[in-house]
């Protein structure tokens, strides 16, 4: 099955590894990602204010464009997933927001939240399946102790995102097992990395990110994986670097024997 794909602003540049390895692995696993022809940045953060319309428009444009293709919409970036899925929920459930957004956009057909938003990991779990992924692995990461770093944006609020159990998630650990490695459970895997505090309060961002790394290391993790470019930045730049961090797609490409191809 082909999916519509929303890369988001960061995956074209600073987070290119998340994108390149993700697309390559998707192709090999039989679910090619068709990038939406005309997308705009999701805004990075979900507009919590009930009275804001403008900050929801770019997401709705992407969601409506995906409806035209008839495909489900996949993202790799945790933040894009969070924003698109919650705005989609607003378009389904909030009459006021839906009406104002549709009035403004004037689409040929009003948008009612018809598109299904998925994170890449959900496609792996629900469409490919862990057993099938395990069968496709040619270079299993046997013996490697890997901690999943979920952060915030994939999990919370669970009543809107429905991604996994917010306090005891398993999807990334299942992924780690499927590529042949050993998942390490540690307490701070679903705590905040410091987010955009790094912009104006770096001291706080450093303290927060280092707590995550210290907890992961003392629990035995040799490597952390993430799906978020900002988590990647905080956990690698705002820490002592004692536990390396990779995008989960890089690990996936490595296990599938696709890491060394010289193309995007």
């Amino acid at each position: 099955m082909t999916y519509s794909y929303f890369p988001g602003c960061t995956l074209k540049t600073k987070g290119a590894d998340l994108d390149i390895y993700g697309r390559r692995a998707a192709q090999a696993l039989g679910f090619p990602l068709e990038e939406l022809s005309d997308w705009q940045c999701c805004g990075g953060v979900y507009p919590l204010a009930k009275d804001e319309i403008a900050t929801r428009l770019s997401s709705v444009r992407a969601l409506a464009a995906s409806r035209e293709t008839g495909s489900k919409l996949v993202t790799l970036c945790s933040a894009c997933y969070h924003v698109l899925k919650r705005v989609n929920g607003d378009m389904r459930n909030d009459d006021g927001i839906r009406q104002k957004v549709n009035n403004y956009l004037g689409l040929s057909m009003p948008y009612f939240g018809e598109t299904e938003v998925l994170h890449y990991l959900e496609v792996l779990r629900d469409a490919v399946g862990w057993d099938e992924l395990r069968r496709k692995v040619v270079m299993p990461l046997t013996g490697k102790k890997i901690g999943a770093y979920y952060g915030c944006l994939l999990l919370r609020p669970s009543r809107e995102l429905g991604f996994d159990d917010p306090e005891n998630p398993t999807i990334m650990e299942d992924f780690i097992r499927a590529v042949g490695a050993e998942p390490v459970i540690y307490a701070m895997r679903n705590e905040c990395c410091g987010g955009y505090a790094t912009i104006e309060n770096q001291k706080y961002a450093v303290a927060q990110a280092q707590k995550v790394i210290d907890n992961a290391r003392s629990s035995g993790a040799e490597l952390l994986i993430t799906a978020c470019p900002l988590c990647m930045y905080n956990l690698s730049r705002n820490t002592d670097g004692s536990v390396p961090v990779q995008y989960f797609t890089e690990l996936l490409a490595e296990a599938l024997g696709l890491k060394e191809e010289n193309n995007g």
Binding site: V45, A49, C152, Y196, N201, Q208, Y233, S236, R237
Partner: protein
């Protein structure tokens, strides 16, 4: 602005009813920015309830909430403290000349690895 109008503004931006709060303190227990805030999340909710909006608008803590949604997830009464903090911050930055971050400040805050996502997020949170 009169307190009653401010309270109405916060209610309409946030859609939150602070009276649902049963003061269990779970939001503050879950908050990673607890130490950075002069008014912790449970106090924030209580102060909104009693109309002390101007004090909250003047507090630096409104810029330290990172919208990690730990408080929202763990609140047994679905009060959503993060929405209240966002609403108070917006009540400030929607005023003329009250942006918390300007484009001129950005270049010196950057380093070569900083993802666009960080800048975009901060811009959305700190200015209108």
């Amino acid at each position: 602005m009169a307190d009653s109008i401010l309270l109405e503004t916060i209610a309409s931006i946030s859609g939150v009813n602070p009276r649902k709060c049963m003061k269990c303190g779970k939001c503050s227990g879950a908050c990673p920015a607890y130490d950075e805030m002069e008014y912790h999340p449970h106090q924030f909710v209580s102060m909104v309830e009693s109309g002390r909006i101007e004090e909250l608008m003047a507090s630096k803590g409104i810029y330290t909430c990172l919208s990690c949604f730990a408080c929202v997830e763990r609140c047994p009464r679905s009060v959503e403290p993060a929405r209240l903090i966002e609403a108070v911050r917006l009540a400030v930055i929607r005023q003329q000349g009250q942006n918390h971050l300007t484009p001129q400040q950005i270049p010196e805050l950057l380093d070569e690895d900083m993802p666009q996502q960080a800048i975009t997020s901060a811009f959305r949170k700190y200015r209108r």
